[in-house]
Structures are given as structure tokens and as C-alpha cells.
């Protein structure tokens, strides 16, 4: 109660302050929504009726458009599967890259740069914006699914992108919310940004039917395959220059025999690996009803494919909405969505062994021969790898409108479950077979209430008050069992003893079984109040205050009070009312502080004990001598009592302008995003036993500019029409703060220095090669030769720059160089129309980022990699292709104990900028043809189109595609290349 009173009084106070501000006429206004013109309804001529949920869905969280929107109409011409793919390159400030083209794999989005450093790929999951589907915040997988794994390439379970479940043909609009006050209204879930997806709504009126469909194919470029002779030739110079007789004796077994046709024969594996695959989609939607009760039904099926390795995704989506208005003042709305996704994953050896956590002898890799690869595929037919995701979301809401009051009560739920069943036969795993079963679910339940009230004082002053409360409960859980070494390849399930008379009743027979389970529950409770004051049509001022309590915060600081405020000034109405050239001109400033949720429930309890029994290579030993163990969290990190809510302070200053009857719209927003008090795992003296402690106090600042431009360059009723849209984002991040006043912090291969970007590579500067021992510099002080961490450098070793001149090359000689994130990113879309024809294309680009070519480094470091017999030694079938220009790398001594081809040197750092023609579409509207428009079928629209996607990429990057560089900045070469797709589609509205 105290809290309510406090927030109410604060709100009242704010409103007073705001009025006074208004009187002072401080200069503020709204940025223009440059995409507004493009965002038209696909179904023209439908009037908005009384019961149109879209309006209130938008009203609940968003009082005005501060975000940028996706051009849904153009985007729906491309066979994009996931929300990330739809948005890629289409909204200023939202950066998406597909690190593999395997359909349905997990993908990431980053809004306005990196708000925290990324040490491992899974860290990027904590930076994801929240996605709302008709106001339902969608729950995602919990990061704990990496915990029991040795390698974090994939999580356990189906690992399907949960945001691939939304069909674009059911989407009305997608907006990326970046406005601080809008985000503050959504609360801590939206601290990393929010994506507001609104589906097409139930509509009253004559029954409407839409059918959309496309067929097409996915085609990967068959890269230049090579056989063992290529590899043999590649290695020759190293052996000629540096090998000892013992090294020659140790020459890789599979390369030794040049008469072995499996390795040295024709390399035709690509015929089987890169197969053109069909894709298709069809969906139907029906809506109709009266003004008092209406509905919308949608059902669709999409089959997507990856163009290589037999990867596929099948999606079935259905949605049903009903709105009713039993009385004038009550609206009841409900929606249920159901989605099912079945995914055919890749057949890569690395992913398989990462799942089995068992690495057999790798000395003979899969050869490039088509026959052997066919044998492999035949064996792979015995594999079971079923990945199924099922999701149901829905809401039930009541909206009361009485006089100036409006009360919205809404229950929403989001439940998704993933099932994965795996069986690998003995032939694929050194006479072992393997079974695993996963069942996991994520569930979110929420109740929100919002009361709004408007009051006008005279005709000049208008107030909108809003009080809201929400409660949300999340539960993540999984059960997972894996089993090894079953009796034969026909029993593909984990059999248990069925007889209750036996002592081992329900215990596994034959298989060696390990079981895992995990569960995490989180709750979030929030209250907020906001006031919006509008002075004529000139000035709008908003103030908001909220209080959030999270179960994952520490008991002493569960609650966090945060404010937000913004002001908009309509300059057009103020100064340029009579001006015909300028249609719109607004300025806006907006600021907020938002609490950030902890991604792990460990922070909720302070000092603790955990079960951390194994070590890096053996993370799952169940106990000691069959008994459970419990220890302090020595390897995962100490949690103290001093961890408080992290938060983000965001500031936007923007202007937008509309010119020439809104034919030219532009918006420019400067932003500063300060993420503070974040938790980072800081190293401590190892004598304490702890690898690290979690400490509060990491601060990262992202500053940048979002720019949007939308122009109707040509607009002729009988001639060519040309509309063009450009979005740009310039962003840079900077480390502002480290815990405990530290100036720098090294974690793994990343070094954080205050004032520097958090996404920099930390590398040695390579300056060539020592051709003889005499070239190695000698320290005049003690006549000792330059050494690398104590090992004297010799001929054939690289020249690494001794930055501090102490004649020892070590970590102190590494420099921060290049960024993993682009400096400039964006997209450019164009649409031409002539008569019934329309032509559109979309170009996306990201410039200024770098990538470390791990694939090249591993290739050159073959001596260490091949003998390692670990997950890094695996050679996939697609490694049998010529990779880039290898002649630019010097020939170092690969046997040297300084590890000459180490990854952390700028030798492997490459420019990863790119520009891509993402889509090219040609369409023809049949409905305007007389024979169709005059027919009795009542066809409102019949649009026929062909689209080609991913036609070309311009880049200087030597790997297959710079987009495949992961979020830590490494190009491993494991990602599947984004294929070209060609589709022929049709859209009917009846």
C-alpha cells in the first residue's frame, strides 16, 4: 500500500512538474514514423469497426508510435521463416545475423548494439529483446540447458527457434520499440528492447477470405570440392621446411596412401550434400461477424529447407480469435494460437559428438568420395533425430469503457514444449549406439490490469492517466536422459525392466543410462502509474514511474523503483502551420531507467552451495562413491549478498520531418543507452579456490544514431511509381565501469578495458616470420633472445610485435583490435510499380566489423588440431572444399611449441563487412484484369509474384559468408551457408 501511495503521489508530483515544464515551452516533439506509409493494410477497403482489437492491443502498452516498423507487405513476398529473418536489415538499430542457414535454428537479435560483453555464444541469449505477440510477452528457452554440456554449440533438446513459429501472413505489423518511455511502460522484460508483433485482427463485416501460397526451391552453391591431394599439397611445404624424420613418420594416416581412392579419388560428395530442396507454404484465413461479435481464423503450413545436408523445417500454425461486445461498454477478446514445428537437423559430426559427449578415434575423417558419403547417408537413415516443438499462446481480456475510464484486465499464457528423440546406430559411433530423449517446457502465465482515465481542462489541456499492475510467473523445466551402448541397432529406445517382480523393475536394461533434470521458476510483480499531458496539438509530456519486484533479485533488494519521462514538441503546428512544403516536423526527447532481470535464479539467494561435481571435460559425474556432493560454487562463481538490480538508462533525442505531401519522410534519433550495475564473473586469486565471483558493477554504454528515410520518388498514376526506404544505424559501445573500480579485466580471450569497446578482439600483432635464428632479436640487457612466454623463438616462428619492449611476448603484448559488431548497419528497400506490375528489391549491409578466421587457423594448425582428437579435430564432409586464398599466410613451423598458428593474432583477423541483395521480387496484380474483376467470384486481390532471395553478397571476407561469424567474432566454418531461394507465389483475397 505504501508503495501505491508513493507511486501515486510521485505521479501527481510529476504531472505538476510536467505542466510547469510545458509552460516553459521546452522544445520537444515526436520522431516521425518513416515506415508509416509502407505499412498499409494488405486488405484494402476494410473499415475499422467498433470492435477492433488492434487499437486497444496497441493502446495497452504503447500510447504512440515510437518504434520502427517492418514493411510486412514487402517482407511477405520472401519465404522468411523466423521473425529474426523478417526483421534482418529492415529496421534501423536492430542487428540480426544468421550464423547458420539451417532452417529453424536459434537466432539472435540485438537492439542498438551490445549491452554487455559476449564471452561465449550463449551469452547473447541474455541480450535478446522481448517479443510480444498481441501483447503476450513470449517466453524463450532458459540458458540452463547448456549447463550439463561440454560444448555450447547447441543446447540440448530440439534447439528450435521459438520465434520461427509466427507466420508472416498472420502478421499485421511488427514494430521495434526503442523509445525509452515506451520500454519503461513494458518494464524489465523490455530492458533489452522490445518487438511488438500485432496479428491481423478479427473484423466485423462481410466474410473475408485470404489465401496465400508459394512454391519454390532452395539451392546452395556447390562449392569447389577437393580431395586429399589438395590437403597433401597444402601440407607439403611445412614438411619440407620443418619436419624432423619422426614427424614425417607421423604423417597423417589418411593422407599417406595416394592410391587410396576414397581419399584421393574424385571428390563428388557435394552432389549428395548440396541438394536442391523444394519449399512451399500455404495458408488460409477467414474473418467475419457482426459489430458485436466477430472472429478470425487462420491456418497455415510451411515447409522450409536449408539447401544442404537435408535440413528442413515443417511448421503448422493456426490461430483463432473472437471478440464480443455484449454491451456497449464491455469488450471481451480472446485469442489462441497453436504452432507445431518439426525440424530435420544437420548431420554434422561435430554436433553429433557434442550431443553424445563421446569422441571416438578421429584419425580417419570422412573421405570426400561420393560412395563413402552415400554409405554414410545410408547409415544415417537408421538415425532417429526427431525434434518437435509445440507452442500454444493465448489471452483472454476484458475491456470496460465507462465514461472517461477504461479498465483492461487481461490473462495471458504462453506455453511451449520441445521434444527431442535421438538414436545413433553403432555404425556411426565406433560400435556404440546412443539414445537420448528430451522433454522440456517453458511456461509463462501473466495477469495485467490497466486503468486509464482522461480529463480535459478546457480545450487546451488534456490529461491521460494510467495505473497498471502486472504479475507474471515463469517456469522452465526439462527432463533429459541419454543412454549408451545398447544391445543392437534395432532397439532404438531405452528399454526398462517391465516385470514388477524383478529387483530392477523400471530400471534400464542393456543401455547405460544417465538422467538429468532441471527446473527454474521466476516471478515478476510490477505496478506503474503514468500521466500524459497534452497542450493543444503542440506539446505532449509523459511521466511514468514503476516499481518492480523479481524473485531472482536478492531478498534485501527485491524491489526497484524506476522513473521515465518524455516530451514531444510539434514544431509544424507551432511555427509552420501555413507552410505547405513541410507537412510534419516534430522533435522529441525521452529518457527512462528500467531494471534488468537476472537471467539466473542463483542471484536470488546470496551465498550458496551447489552440486558441481565434475570438471570441464566431465561435467556430469553424479556424485562421489554414489553419494551426492555439495560444495561452494568454486567453478561457476561465488554469489555474495551485494548484488543489486542491474538497470539501463536510455535517452533518445529525435526529430522527424515530412515533406511534399509526405512524399519524403525522414527521422533521425540520437540515443544513448547506459547499462549499469550488471553482474560479471570476475576472477579472484585462485588460492581462494574460486575461479571467479559474481560482482555487480559492469557498465556498458551504447551511443548511436538511427536514421530512417522513406521517399516516394516517383508517383505517377499512369506511369512508373518508385518508393524507396533506407534505414541506417551507427552504433558504438564503450565499457564505462567495472566492478570494484577495476580498470581492466581479462576473461578468457577477451580483455575489457574502461573506455574501450567491449566487442574488441584481443590479439598479437603479426609482423611476418623469422627466417633464421639470427633474426630473433636479443635483449641487450641480459643477452637473452626474444621469447614467447619463456620459450625462445626460432626460425619459422612468427614475428609478434613486442609492444612493451621487454623481450618477452606474452599477454601484455596483445592489443585490442577490431570489433565484432558493425559500426554501420542497415538496409535499403525499393519498390517500383508500373500498371499491374510491381518490382521490389532489398539490400542489406553491415560495415566495419571484423572476424577471426578460426577455420583458417585450424587448417594451418593441423599438427595440433589433428593430434588433439577432441571436438576441434573433427573434419566434416564439407571441409573437403577449397577454402579461400591460403597463399596470403606465411609458412610457419607448425610443430613449434609457441603454436605459430594460434588464433589470437591479427593474422587471422579479417574485414567482415558485407552487402547483400537479400530479395528481388516481381509481381503482377491479376485482379485488375477485366475478366477477373468482373467475375462473380468477388476477387478483391489476386497477386502473382516471383521472388529470388540471397542472390549475391559483396564482401572481402575469405570465408564462405561473413554473416556466419558467430557473436564472439569467430568464423568456424561450421555454419551452413545461406542458400539462394526462388519462389513463385500467389495471394488471393476474396
Amino acid at each position: 500500500m505504501v508503495r501505491i501511495i508513493a507511486s501515486m503521489s510521485y505521479t501527481a508530483l510529476l504531472s505538476v512538474l510536467c505542466v510547469s515544464n510545458a509552460e516553459a515551452e521546452s522544445a520537444k516533439t515526436t520522431p516521425l514514423n518513416y515506415n508509416a506509409i509502407l505499412r498499409q493494410d494488405t486488405i484494402p477497403g476494410v473499415k475499422k469497426k467498433a470492435v477492433d482489437t488492434a487499437s486497444w492491443v496497441n493502446n495497452v502498452a504503447r500510447t504512440r508510435g515510437g518504434g520502427d516498423s517492418l514493411n510486412v507487405r514487402l517482407s511477405s513476398l520472401s519465404p522468411n521463416l523466423s521473425l529474426q529473418q523478417m526483421l534482418k536489415g529492415n529496421v534501423a538499430g536492430l542487428y540480426v545475423k544468421e550464423i547458420t542457414a539451417e532452417p529453424g535454428t536459434e537466432q539472435s537479435m540485438l537492439v542498438r548494439g551490445l549491452s554487455a560483453p559476449i564471452f561465449r555464444n550463449k551469452d547473447v541469449n541474455n541480450l535478446q529483446p522481448i517479443v510480444y505477440l498481441n501483447g503476450i510477452p513470449l517466453i524463450q528457452n532458459n540458458n540452463y540447458i547448456y549447463d550439463i554440456q561440454k560444448y555450447d554449440f547447441n543446447p540440448i533438446g530440439p534447439a528450435t527457434n521459438l520465434l520461427a513459429g509466427i507466420d508472416i501472413n498472420t502478421i499485421q505489423s511488427v514494430e521495434v520499440i526503442k523509445d525509452p518511455v515506451e520500454l519503461a511502460k513494458l518494464g524489465p522484460l523490455a530492458a533489452n528492447g522490445a518487438i511488438w508483433v500485432t496479428t491481423k485482427q478479427a473484423k466485423s463485416g462481410v466474410r473475408q477470405i485470404s489465401v496465400n501460397s508459394y512454391f519454390g526451391m532452395v539451392k546452395s552453391d556447390n562449392a569447389s570440392p577437393v580431395n586429399a591431394e589438395y590437403e597433401n599439397r597444402f601440407r607439403k611445404p611445412f614438411y619440407q621446411k620443418y619436419a624432423t624424420p619422426a614427424d614425417v613418420l607421423n604423417y597423417a594416416g589418411y593422407l599417406r596412401d595416394s592410391t587410396n581412392l576414397d581419399y584421393y579419388g574424385p571428390a563428388k560428395w557435394g552432389d549428395l550434400y548440396y541438394k536442391t530442396a523444394p519449399i512451399h507454404s500455404v495458408d488460409l484465413s477467414i474473418s467475419g461477424g457482426s459489430e458485436r461479435a466477430n472472429f478470425r481464423f487462420f491456418a497455415g503450413n510451411t515447409k522450409s529447407a536449408g539447401g544442404a545436408d537435408g535440413t528442413k523445417l515443417d511448421r503448422y500454425a493456426t490461430s483463432f480469435q473472437i471478440n464480443m461486445s455484449p454491451f456497449e461498454w464491455v469488450t471481451v477478446s480472446s485469442m489462441v494460437n497453436a504452432t507445431r514445428m518439426d525440424r530435420d537437423r544437420n548431420r554434422s559430426i561435430r554436433d553429433r559428438f557434442a550431443e553424445t559427449r563421446y569422441i571416438p578415434d578421429l584419425s580417419n575423417p570422412l573421405p570426400p568420395s561420393k560412395q563413402i558419403y552415400q554409405w554414410f547417408l545410408d547409415e544415417y537413415d537408421k538415425v532417429i533425430d526427431d525434434n518437435r516443438n509445440t507452442a500454444v499462446q493465448g489471452y483472454f481480456s476484458l475491456n470496460f469503457k465507462v465514461s472517461k475510464f477504461s479498465l483492461l484486465t487481461k490473462l495471458n499464457f504462453d506455453y511451449n514444449e520441445g521434444i527431442r528423440d535421438v538414436f545413433y546406430p553403432t555404425t556411426l559411433m565406433e560400435n556404440n549406439n546412443y539414445v537420448s530423449n528430451y522433454f522440456g517446457y517453458n511456461q509463462r502465465f501473466g495477469v495485467t490490469n490497466a486503468l486509464t482515465f482522461s480529463e480535459e481542462l478546457g480545450s487546451n489541456h488534456k490529461f491521460d492517466f494510467e495505473l497498471g499492475q502486472s504479475f507474471q510467473s515463469d517456469l522452465n523445466r526439462y527432463n533429459y536422459a541419454n543412454a549408451y551402448n545398447g544391445p543392437n541397432d534395432f532397439i532404438k529406445i531405452n528399454v526398462v525392466e517391465g516385470s514388477s517382480a524383478e529387483a530392477n523393475y523400471l530400471k534400464p536394461v542393456d543401455f547405460l543410462v544417465y538422467r538429468y533434470t532441471d527446473r527454474e521458476q521466476r516471478r515478476l510483480f510490477s505496478v506503474y502509474g503514468s500521466v500524459k499531458y497534452k497542450y493543444k496539438d503542440l506539446l505532449t509530456i509523459t511521466g511514468l514511474i514503476r516499481d518492480d519486484g523479481s524473485s531472482t533479485a536478492q531478498p534485501g533488494s527485491r524491489w526497484l523503483v524506476t522513473p521515465a519521462t518524455s516530451a514531444q514538441w510539434n514544431l509544424k503546428n507551432q511555427f509552420l502551420k501555413g507552410n505547405n512544403a513541410i507537412d510534419e516536423l516534430t522533435a522529441e526527447v525521452s529518457w527512462s531507467r528500467i531494471g534488468k532481470l537476472f537471467s539466473d535464479d542463483r542471484f536470488g539467494s546470496g551465498p550458496q552451495y551447489r552440486v558441481e561435481n565434475g570438471w570441464v571435460a566431465e561435467p556430469t559425474i553424479p556424485g562421489y562413491n554414489g553419494l551426492a556432493t555439495i560444495t561452494r560454487p568454486y567453478s561457476s562463481g561465488w554469489v555474495g549478498y551485494d548484488i543489486r538490480w542491474p538497470y539501463t538508462d536510455q535517452l533518445n533525442v529525435g526529430m522527424s520531418i515530412g515533406l511534399l505531401q509526405n512524399r519524403l519522410n525522414a527521422s533521425l534519433t540520437f540515443y544513448q543507452k547506459d547499462d549499469k550495475r550488471m553482474v560479471v564473473n570476475t576472477p579472484v586469486p585462485t588460492e581462494t579456490g574460486y575461479a571467479s565471483i559474481f560482482s555487480s558493477g559492469l557498465g556498458v554504454r551504447n551511443t548511436g544514431v538511427d536514421f530512417g528515410l522513406k521517399a516516394a520518388i516517383l508517383r505517377r498514376p499512369d506511369g512508373i511509381n518508385w518508393e524507396s526506404g533506407l534505414n541506417l544505424n551507427v552504433n558504438r559501445n564503450k565499457l564505462t565501469e567495472l566492478p570494484g573500480g577495476l580498470q581492466e579485466l581479462t576473461i578468457g580471450n577477451r580483455k575489457l578495458t574502461i573506455g574501450q569497446a567491449v566487442d574488441k578482439f584481443w590479439v598479437y600483432e603479426n609482423q611476418g616470420i623469422y627466417n633464421s635464428d639470427a633474426e630473433v632479436p636479443v635483449n641487450p640487457a641480459n643477452q637473452e633472445k626474444l621469447n614467447f612466454e619463456g620459450t625462445t623463438l626460432h626460425a619459422g616462428d612468427p614475428i609478434w610485435k613486442d609492444q612493451n619492449g621487454d623481450f618477452i611476448i606474452n599477454d601484455e603484448d596483445k592489443v585490442l583490435k577490431g570489433n565484432t559488431m558493425p559500426k554501420l548497419s542497415g538496409g535499403w528497400s525499393n519498390e517500383f510499380k508500373y500498371g499491374n506490375f510491381s518490382l521490389s528489391f532489398n539490400v542489406i549491409f553491415a560495415l566495419g566489423q571484423k572476424g577471426l578466421n578460426e577455420q583458417a587457423a585450424n587448417h594451418f594448425d593441423f599438427i595440433n588440431k589433428e593430434s588433439g582428437n577432441d571436438i576441434g579435430s573433427i573434419k566434416e564432409i564439407n571441409s573437403w572444399q577449397a577454402s579461400g586464398d591460403l597463399s596470403k599466410y606465411p609458412i610457419y613451423n607448425p610443430w613449434s611449441s609457441v603454436v605459430a598458428y594460434r588464433l589470437d593474432q591479427d593474422l587471422f583477423l579479417e574485414n567482415a563487412s558485407y552487402l547483400k541483395l537479400r530479395s528481388l521480387s516481381l509481381g503482377y496484380d491479376l485482379s485488375k484484369l477485366p475478366w477477373l474483376s468482373n467475375s462473380k467470384a468477388g476477387i478483391k486481390r489476386a497477386f502473382l509474384y516471383v521472388t529470388a532471395n540471397n542472390l549475391f553478397t559483396i564482401t572481402s571476407f575469405s570465408g564462405s559468408d561473413p554473416e556466419l561469424i558467430d557473436y564472439t567474432g569467430l568464423y568456424s566454418g561450421y555454419g551452413m551457408v545461406i542458400p539462394k531461394t526462388f519462389t513463385l507465389g500467389v495471394k488471393f483475397d476474396l
Partner: protein
Amino acid sequence: MISFINKNNRLTKVLAFVLLSSLVSVNLSCKKMLDVESTRLATEEAQWSNLQDTRSGLMGIYGLTRTALGSNNAHWLWGEMREGDFTASSKSDLKAIIRSDLNASYPLIQDITNWRRFYTVINSASLFIERSGEVVAKDPRYSKLNNKVDIAQARALRAFAYFYMVRIWGDVPLITASHDGSFEGKPRTDQAKVLGYAESELMAAVKDLPYRYGVDGDLDLPGLYYGYDNGRWSGALFTKISAYAVMAHIAAWQSHYLDAAVYTQFIMQNYSKSGLEYVNTTNLTASDGIFNGQDSKIALGFTFSDVYGESTSEGHIEQLVLAAPLIAKQVPDLYVSKDTINKAFTDIRDGRFGIDTLSGLTRTNYFLNYSGQIPVFSKIKVLRGGSTNGSFVIFSSAIAFTRIEELSLLRAEALTVLGQRQPAIDLLNIVKKNRGIKSFNDNDGLGLIDEIFAERRRELMGEGWRWYDRIRLAKIKGNDAKFNKLIAEKGIYWPIAKDVLKANSQLVQNSYWK
């Protein structure tokens, strides 16, 4: 708020009231709502309240010790590889260790020169010693005697960790309390002081440690131990004999052979009380022999019992040395060259490796594939639960620190140094006889001390002793100029990992590796 409501509208009034009251009531109860108990951890308040907590806490220390020795197979890399009997087939990092190129820039070397895992043992043992007493008051099932034995084990494990570290790094920081919640770095302490502390801790612990756990009518600890009998515990926990064994080694490492003789004498008189026995060659080398799971014949070992699903691939010498025909792997990472085998095993009657006089073939207890280019060291070959099926390659062998043969040879060494030749020869000959080889005889003109160490080399091959044995032998004989120089320059110690040095500015790298 109320003042905004239009007074003529009753419904709005009701609505506003309902909303407000629901807001208030939810807000009042939300304090409780936000208390979600995590199932993934035990809080400070919940730990140390009952018997399960002390048991899992104690097992935690054992588990951490196993991790310290087992991760990266470090027990063998530290003890067996440097200029030892093994040759690396292709792995560059192992080659670097074998040629003592320990500054080489391989992740493996960085990882095994990081001493943090030992300090997890030390910290958790200190914490256990400080906190476990609280449970006595809270849980009546947890007796004072039980607590005393538990604390003795924790002290012994902590002392063992210190001894193990000193053998690798020399001087190490001596930390004797948990300092829970504070994270200050400490400088290194002189190794003599560290070993003195370890020895005194063990001395205190032996008073409370029993010979066996879970034995009815036992004098030190009668009845079940944590509800389990001796079958569950034998070979898995620190016994009185284990503690004496570590003390004997601490003494021998410092060349305090008089103390070593005293400690080993106690062992020789009492070892059978812990179930220790001399084993025959078959039992030594069988896949279900003494190394499998837990065995009372291992005086101090850390188990990976398959019965409890603890078999792993890392943490065993097998991962480094086994290959076809036992498992599918073609070439072992490490092997003993034929040359070295022939030098070490001089008696063809040797049951471990010799020539069968009937068939004329080599014996396969220690080495398989002797006729091939690369013999496979197969002395320890505990495939999953002691089976011989190599299709699924995980191992269940315990990390054995010592057994009675090792302790006998240690005693023989001590007695030889002290000039008591005959009892030393007797002990040596017990081992020799068990392996079927010719007894030591003064008339053969062989040096007794050399013979003892030669026997250690054969008997303990692959158990992580070779490097330390060479150091002790060089110290006793003092005639290996190169090696004695290495000892004098402290080159016998390992460098300290970068991460360790970086995290604590009070530490300095071992001078030899600077």
C-alpha cells in the same frame, strides 16, 4: 485518485474500488509471492542443518580432490611424464611435457599448472572443519563421534592437497581457514612450513581416523557410517593407514627418512586392519582387479565406481595409453617404447612383462602389441565397470595414490638410507617374489637403492610415481649432475599458470621458469 471519478457513475465507482482493492491485496501478498525457492542450489541458511548436509559436504571434498587429480589426467601428467618412461605418439602438448618444455604455449599445460583445483579442496575442507560442528546440535542423528571422524578426514584431505601441491610447485600459499566470503590473495609460504603444517594436521587426524568405515564393533568407529557398511566405504575414504602413508611420503620427500621409517613401520604393523594386502600380478592387471571401482587394497585412492554411474573417459591413465586391440583407437597418445621396456624389465620371468618359457611369447599383463611398432601399456585397463568390452570407452579405475607394495618399497628405501639393509632387502623381495622375479641378493653386486627404485619403476609404472621417484633417488645418490642441478635450480617444480599469477600480484613465477 478517487476525486477523478465521476460521482454520478456508480459502476465506475465500483470498478475503481475493485481495481484498487485488488491492486492493494495483490501487492501485500506479493512479498511472499516473490519468495521462490530455487531447486538448483542450497542456501546459506539451508546448508549445515542435517546429516545429509555433512555427508554431501564431506563427499564434496573427496569429489573435489578427485577433480584436482583427474581433470586433464593431471595426476599422471605431473607424476609420470616428465622425462619419464612414456613417449607421446603425436600430441604436441604431451610431447612438450615429456621433454620438460613446460613454458610451451598449450592450453593443456596452462590448465594443469593452475593450482586452483587443489585450493577448492583446501577451502571446502576448511569450511567443513569450521561449520560441520553446527549440525551436531541441529540433528540428533549426527553424533559427535561421527563429526570427529568427518573432521579428521577433512583435515587429512587438506593436508594431502598441500603435500601434492608442494611436490608440483614447491612453495605454495598456506591457507588454513576458509575465509568464507573474502577473496584476498596470499603470498607463497616456504614449502618446509607447508609440509610441516600438513604433517601436523595428519598427525592430529590419525588419532580420529578409523582403519575401516562402517564395521560393527570397530574400536574407533563402531556401526554403520552414514548408514552404509564397510562394503560401501572400503577403498573410498581416508583411513588411518592412508594418513600414515601420506605422512611417510611427506617425510621421505623432505629426506626425513627417520620419520618415514617410523610412519611406515606403523603401516607395516597395521595395514591388514584396513584390509590391505599384497596382490598377485593377475589381480594387479586384470580389468576387474584392484583398480576397478573401490578396493580395500588401495591404501589411498579416489574412486570412479561404475556401480554408481561414475565411469568417465577423462581422469584415468587409460585415456592416454589404451588403444587397439582393447579399444577402437588405433594409436595410443602415450606409450612405453620397446627400448624402455627392455631396459626396465630385465628378468624374463617377470609376470608383469617377460617371456613365457612355454610358448615363447611375451607376457601381456603390462604390455600388449609388443610385436608391433607401438606397444600398448595395458597394466591398468578398467573398461567400464571392469569389463573387457571396449566398444564404449569409459573407464572405472580409481586414481590410486598408494598401495601396500608402494609403501613397502618406500619403507625399504627409508631403511636403506638409514643403513638397515636386511629388513629393506626383505621388503623388496616380498614385492619381487610376488611378481615372480629373482630375489635381491647382495652377491649380485647391484646397488640396493638402485634395485629398490628399479622395482618401483616396474611395479608402479602408470601410477604417477616416476617423476617423484627420480627426484628422491637423485637426492639420495647425488651423483646425477644434470638432475641434481635441476633440483638445485628448482627446475623440478612446474611453472605457475598465467591465470594464477595474474589474479594475485603477490605471487612470483618459479625462478627456473621465468
